[in-house]
Subunit: 205 residues, 2 copies
């Protein structure tokens, strides 16, 4: 029996640049994880390819998948569904391949419930970390500016605490590199490989 | 207030090559963590330097440190004490520096109790992972050889499950590189930086 693959989830506030970082990661050679293509009911845009950018399906088909509990996560934005079909993800994981999802924060929380052993990475806007610096060097900003940033920071922290790691998207190449470092390190995490290893020893006994 | 540093503990079965891997890590440039020198009551050997290889102290001094609860961990081997003085470690951590300990398995478990937020890395002998391969390719070894290895494997697994990560010491340079990757990735772990970050936001409010 092959070792089950790792489910890698990249998420973060909208506009943080998840797609750009994901493309950067996949543009580099030597990745042995698979990108899970999302499913949507929205119209295909010029240049998009079915099965590559999205699986484009009808509203009825999508709702049937939900009904059959075949979606790992999904959400509705402006009358259209977006989500991750479970079937492809499970096929890949079962064959020992790692699967990479790049999804919205709400979707990531659905995945966390269904797959608690996934690796959850939060992409943070640079100003959250800048805020830290600004607070340290008090007095350079007016209080209203800092207060607005504080509110945003509190929201982002709320989201972040449900993740294993957080990476600042300051320079895209650096964020991509950090995410790859995290994925590499996680392979040596005892809780990830020990259950499989014990099972193999047990099978032998 | 400076962010508290990270306590990094490298351990593993005796003879696995912890010292060699630690020296390899520290021989490379760009490390910003500090090696914690152990304290011992054994005699200084030719070439050893007090305060570099060990802090060499008398039995009475060591026992006073134990009495005063000033040892992070210690053990007695063949009439001599070996251990990690708490004072230096805490000074470094409080000033925001990361501290690297390379210690025996029993000592690591004492540290785990006192500093549960430390980063615990287990160095594994290559044959533990080879065994896995041997079990997969059954029939190439006689049953007695495999059984002996199985017993050893079970012992090592018992130890390993108390650690966060396990790295095989196959090629020293590769093991060192993996450990550095793990330490790098851990810096982006939400549970490591979020408490400090929240505290800073709170201080500002």
């Amino acid at each position: 029996m092959a070792k089950r693959g790792m489910l890698i989830v990249l998420s973060g506030p909208s506009g943080v640049g998840k797609g750009t970082v994901r493309k950067e990661i996949f543009s580099q050679p030597g990745n042995n994880f698979h990108y899970s293509v999302s499913m949507t009911t929205r119209d295909m845009r010029p240049g998009e390819v079915d099965g590559k950018d999205y699986y484009f399906v009808s509203k009825e088909e999508f709702e049937q998948q939900i009904k059959d509990d075949q979606m790992l996560e999904y959400a509705k934005y402006v009358d259209n569904y977006y989500g991750t079909p479970l079937k492809y993800v499970n096929q890949m994981l079962d064959s020992g391949k790692d699967v990479f999802l790049e999804i919205e924060v709400k979707g990531a929380m659905q995945v966390r419930k269904k797959a608690p052993d996934g690796l959850f990475i939060f992409l943070t806007p640079p100003d959250l970390m800048e805020l830290r610096q600004r607070i340290i060097n008090r007095g350079t900003d007016d209080i209203e500016t800092i207060n607005k940033r504080m509110e945003k920071a509190v929201d982002e922290i709320e989201m972040m605490q449900n993740y294993d790691y957080a990476v600042v998207n300051d320079v895209v190449e650096e964020a991509a590199e950090k995410i790859k470092t995290i994925i590499r390190a996680e392979r040596w995490r005892v809780k990830r490989f020990l259950p499989d290893y014990k099972k193999q020893l047990g099978d032998f006994k």
